[in-house]
C-alpha cells in the first residue's frame, strides 16, 4: 500500500467552497482504509466532478470515515434519504448522480437495515458523518464541547470521579477500571507525568483502533487532553503502528489543526492548561502493545517488556508516572463528559458498562466494524448484525481476544458479551476482534496458526515464551500432520501450563490460551488427528504412513 496522499489533493466540496446557499443533497464517500483500497478517493473526486458537470450546484460531496459495512465497500451514502450505495466503482456513478438529483426536502428516509439498527454508536457516533480531516466538522458535531466544559467548570478530581462513576473499563483487553487507573496516576508522586495512547493494535483480525484514528482522530486527541487534565500531565504520546499509514497521516493532520486552533499546546481554550501530543511509530512488533514494552520503545530502547511492579502508573515513561490508555478507551471519554456518567453507566450490563466496538472478520457476511452495548448476545452480533455465516454454512466458533484469547463454540451463542462472561468460557474480551469460523475451519489448525503468530512475535527475553511457544507450535504441527501420538498431546498440555504460569509478560502468559480453549471445546478434533489420522474439517494435510505399515502378503 502506498502512502496516502489525499491530504495534498484538493477535493471539491461545493457546500463550503463554491456556493453559500443551502445544500439540497449530499454524497458521503467512505474514505477509510478498506474503501480507500478500492479507489474511494477517486470516487469522491469523480463524483464531485460529475455533479458539477450536471449543474447540481446545491449538491455537496465529501469524504467521511468508516461506515462499518466494510464487506460492501466502497460505500457512498446520501444522508438526506439514507440511501446507501455499496460496491461503488468509478464506472457506476450514474445511479448516485441520479439519486442525488431526485432528493428534495420532502424525500422519505429509508430504513437503515438491521446492520445499523442494532448498533448503539458512542465511539463511532461521527463515523460516516464527518470529514475526519476537518476540525470544523468535528466541532459541528459537538466535538471539544467536553474539553471546554472540563476546563471551564470542573476540577481534575471531578473529572476522575465522573470517569469512575461511568464504569468505563480499559478497551485494550484486560478491562482495568479506567477511573482507578487515572486516580493512581494523578496521586503518584512526581511533577512530570505523561499520557500515552496505545494505538499499537496488533491482534490478527482486529481493526477497531485503526478505524477510530482514520474516521475520528480529533476525538482521541480530545480524550487525551481530558485525561491529561485529570492526571496533571503535560505531555502525550500516541504510539501507533507504522502499518497504519492512513491513520498516522490523519493523526498528524489532526494534531496540526488542533494546535493551530488552540486545542493542543499552551493555554488550551484560553485557560492555563497546557498539553501537547507527539506521535511515535511502532516498527511492527506485536509485543510493543504490552505497556512496559511500549514505554521502552517510546524511550528509544529495545521493545521488550519488564517485570511489573512497578506499574507504569507509578514508574513509566522516563521513570515518571504514566497513564496508558487504549484508543477506544480514550475515544469514549469525550462522550462520557458530554452526556454524563449516568448516561454511560446506563448502557451495557453488570460490571461491563457502555459500548464495545467489534471488528467482524472471518466467515461472516457483513465483515466490518460494529458498535454494540456491552452484554449483547453473540448471536445478535453474528446473525442480526453480521448477517450470519457466508454461504449459509454452519457456525462453529468465534475467536475473541486475538492470539491471547480463546474460541467460543456454538453452545455459547446466547452468552452476553461482557468481560466476565468471556472469561468464564475461557476466552477474554481483548481489543474486540471477532473472527468467525464455520465448519470449514479445523480448530487444531486455528490453534497452530495463533501459536505460529506468538512464536514469531515473542521478543525473546524470557525462556518460557521464547522457547515454549516454538515447542508448542512444533507439537501442534506434528498433530496436524498426523504424526503425533497421545504422549505428544500430554506434552502439549503440560507445556501450555508451564508457559502460561512462567512467562514474563501477557504475550507469553496468554499464548497458550488458544490451545486451552480449543482443547476444552474441540478435543474430539485433536483426537481425530491423533487416533484416526484424519482432519474432520479437511484442512490439514495428513502425511502418508511410513512404508513399514504396509505388510507384504
Amino acid at each position: 500500500m502506498s502512502e496516502p496522499n489525499n491530504a495534498a489533493r484538493p477535493i471539491r466540496r461545493p457546500n463550503q467552497e463554491i456556493h453559500d446557499g443551502p445544500v439540497r443533497a449530499s454524497a458521503y464517500v467512505c474514505e477509510a482504509a478498506s474503501c480507500m483500497s478500492l479507489q474511494a478517493h477517486e470516487i469522491t473526486v469523480r463524483l464531485a466532478e460529475a455533479t458539477a458537470d450536471a449543474g447540481m450546484s446545491d449538491v455537496a460531496v465529501k469524504r467521511v470515515g468508516c461506515m462499518g459495512l466494510c464487506a460492501a465497500g466502497p460505500l457512498v451514502k446520501i444522508p438526506q434519504t439514507g440511501e446507501l450505495f455499496s460496491a461503488v466503482t468509478l464506472d457506476n456513478l450514474e445511479p448516485i448522480v441520479q439519486a442525488l438529483d431526485k432528493v428534495t426536502d420532502a424525500s422519505a428516509r429509508l430504513p437503515l437495515g438491521p446492520f445499523f439498527e442494532h448498533q448503539v454508536r458512542v465511539v463511532t457516533e461521527n463515523f460516516g458523518e464527518i470529514d475526519p480531516e476537518s476540525l470544523d466538522d468535528y466541532v459541528a458535531r459537538g466535538g471539544y464541547e467536553a474539553l471546554g466544559r472540563v476546563l471551564a467548570e470542573m476540577t481534575s478530581t471531578q473529572v476522575r470521579e465522573e470517569i469512575t462513576r461511568s464504569g468505563l473499563r480499559g478497551r485494550g483487553g484486560a478491562g482495568y477500571p479506567t477511573g482507578l487507573k487515572w486516580t493512581t496516576v494523578a496521586k503518584a508522586a512526581g511533577t512530570q507525568k505523561y499520557v500515552i495512547c496505545n494505538a499499537d493494535e496488533g491482534d490478527p483480525g482486529a481493526f477497531m483502533d485503526r478505524s477510530v484514528l482514520e474516521s475520528d482522530p480529533f476525538r482521541v486527541l480530545e480524550g487525551m487532553a481530558i485525561a491529561a487534565f485529570a492526571v496533571h500531565a503535560t505531555e502525550g504520546y500516541i504510539y501507533c503502528r507504522a502499518e497504519y499509514p492512513l491513520a498516522v497521516a490523519r493523526l498528524r493532520g489532526a494534531i496540526r489543526q488542533a494546535q493551530k486552533a488552540g486545542f493542543l499546546g499552551q493555554g488550551i481554550a484560553n485557560t492555563s492548561f497546557a498539553f501537547d501530543v507527539q506521535i511515535r511509530l511502532g516498527a511492527g512488533a506485536f509485543v510493543c502493545g504490552e505497556e512496559t514494552a511500549l514505554i521502552a520503545s517510546v524511550e528509544g530502547k529495545r521493545g521488550t517488556p519488564r517485570p511489573r511492579p512497578p506499574y507504569p502508573a507509578v514508574e513509566g515513561l522516563n521513570g515518571c508516572p504514566t497513564l496508558i490508555n487504549n484508543v477506544e478507551s480514550l475515544a469514549n471519554v469525550p462522550a462520557i463528559l458530554r452526556n454524563g456518567s449516568e448516561w454511560y453507566a446506563g448502557l451495557g450490563s453488570g460490571k461491563s458498562k457502555g459500548t464495545k466496538v467489534f471488528a467482524l472478520a472471518g466467515r461472516i457476511v457483513n465483515t466490518g466494524l460494529v458498535e454494540v452495548p456491552m452484554g449483547m448476545s453473540l448471536r445478535e452480533i453474528v446473525y442480526d448484525i453480521g448477517g450470519g455465516i457466508v454461504d449459509g454454512r454452519l457456525f462453529k466458533a468465534v475467536q475473541t481476544g486475538g492470539p491471547s484469547g480463546g474460541c467460543i463454540p456454538a453452545q455459547f451463542l446466547d452468552m452476553p458479551m461482557t468481560y466476565e462472561a468471556l472469561i468464564e468460557v475461557g476466552s477474554f474480551m481483548g481489543s474486540g476482534g471477532l473472527i468467525v469460523m464455520d465448519d470449514t475451519s479445523c480448530m487444531v489448525d486455528v490453534a497452530k496458526y495463533f501459536m505460529d503468530f506468538c512464536r514469531d512475535e515473542s521478543c525473546g527475553k524470557c525462556v518460557p515464551c521464547r522457547v515454549g511457544t516454538t515447542q508448542m507450535w512444533m507439537l501442534l504441527d506434528k498433530i496436524t500432520r498426523g504424526k503425533a501420538d497421545l504422549i505428544d498431546l500430554a506434552q502439549l498440555e503440560r507445556l501450555a501450563g508451564v508457559v502460561q504460569r512462567m512467562s514474563l509478560c501477557g504475550l507469553g502468559q496468554g499464548a497458550p490460551n488458544p490451545v486451552f480453549s480449543t482443547l476444552r471445546y474441540f478435543r474430539d478434533e485433536y483426537m481425530a488427528h491423533i487416533l484416526e489420522r484424519r482432519c474432520p474439517a479437511g484442512v490439514c494435510e495428513i502425511e502418508a504412513l511410513a512404508q513399514h505399515a504396509e505388510v507384504p502378503a
Binding site: 519488564r306 517485570p307 521478543c459 527475553k461 521464547r466 522457547v467 506434552q491 504460569r501 512462567m502 514474563l504
Partner: protein
C-alpha cells in the same frame, strides 16, 4: 534509614530492608533459589524465570530476582510444583540450542549443568529446536559459541554496568535473538571492546570462553567469584 520487613521463605523467618528483592534476602539467609540470568552486582531482568516463587495470596508466580519483599510476605521457594516448572524451563534451555556437555569447554564448570543436576533432570521430553547458529572466534583472546548461549545477557550487563564499554548488546527477536558485539560486527574488529574478559567470566555456560582451553578445562570457578562485582554493588548502595 530504611524500613526493615519481616517475612517467611519456605517457612523460615527472615528479615530484609525495604527495596531488597526476595532473591537477595534468600541469598543472605543461605536459601538457594536457582537463577541463570541473576548475578549479584548486576542489574536484574527477570528473564530466565528459573527463580519463580509462590507468594501467598497471589495467583501468579513471581520472579524472586525482581520482586521486592513486603512486610508479612509468605514466600514458597521450593515445592514439588515449582521444581517441576523449573525442570521444564531448564529442559527448554537445553533444547533451544545445542548443549552437549561432553564436548563443552565448560563441562563440570557450567551453571546450566549444575542446575540440571540439582533439579534431577534425567531426560528430555519436549521437542528439540537446536538450529545451527554461528561461532565468532575473531577476537584475539576469546570466542563466542552462540550454540551454547542461553541469552541470560550477563555479558551485556557486565560489559555495560561494570566495564562501561557496552560492546555487547542484543539483536533480532524471539528464537532469532543473538547477543552481538557493537552493531553486529565481528568481535575481533570491535573498537569498543577493551578485552577485559569480564563477559567470559560471567557467562554461566560455555558460550563465552578463552581460546585454547580444551574440553572441560573450566576457565571459570564457582560463583560469586568476582570480588569487584560485590564492591560495585555496595558502592551503588544495593
Amino acid at each position: 534509614m530504611s524500613t526493615v520487613h519481616t517475612l517467611t521463605i519456605d517457612g523460615r523467618d527472615v528479615a530484609g530492608n525495604e527495596g531488597q528483592t526476595i532473591m537477595e534476602v534468600a541469598e543472605e539467609n543461605g536459601i538457594d533459589i536457582p537463577g541463570l540470568c541473576h548475578l549479584p552486582g548486576l542489574h536484574d531482568r527477570g528473564a530466565c524465570r528459573l527463580c519463580v516463587v509462590e507468594i501467598e495470596g497471589s495467583p501468579k508466580l513471581a520472579a524472586a530476582c525482581v520482586t521486592q519483599i513486603a512486610e508479612g510476605m509468605h514466600v514458597t521457594a521450593h515445592s514439588e510444583k515449582l521444581e517441576d516448572h523449573r525442570r521444564a524451563a531448564t529442559e527448554m534451555i537445553f533444547l533451544e540450542r545445542n548443549h552437549v556437555c561432553s564436548v563443552c569447554v565448560a563441562n563440570n564448570h557450567c551453571e546450566l549443568q549444575d542446575l540440571a543436576d540439582e533439579l534431577r533432570v534425567t531426560h528430555f521430553d519436549l521437542p528439540r529446536i537446536s538450529p545451527a547458529v554461528g561461532i565468532d572466534a575473531s577476537h584475539r583472546l576469546f570466542a563466542i559459541d552462540h550454540n551454547r548461549c542461553i541469552l541470560c545477557l550477563r555479558c551485556v550487563r557486565a560489559c555495560d554496568e561494570i566495564e562501561g564499554a557496552h560492546t555487547w548488546d542484543v539483536m533480532h527477536r524471539g528464537l532469532e535473538t543473538r547477543v552481538q558485539t557493537d552493531m553486529g560486527i565481528p568481535w575481533g574488529e570491535s573498537p569498543t571492546c577493551t578485552s577485559c574478559g569480564k563477559c567470559v567470566q560471567v557467562c554461566p555456560t560455555g558460550a563465552l570462553f578463552e581460546k585454547g582451553r580444551p574440553v572441560a578445562s573450566g576457565s571459570k570457578t564457582k560463583r560469586p567469584f568476582l570480588p569487584w562485582l560485590r564492591v560495585h554493588q555496595e558502592e551503588r548502595g544495593l
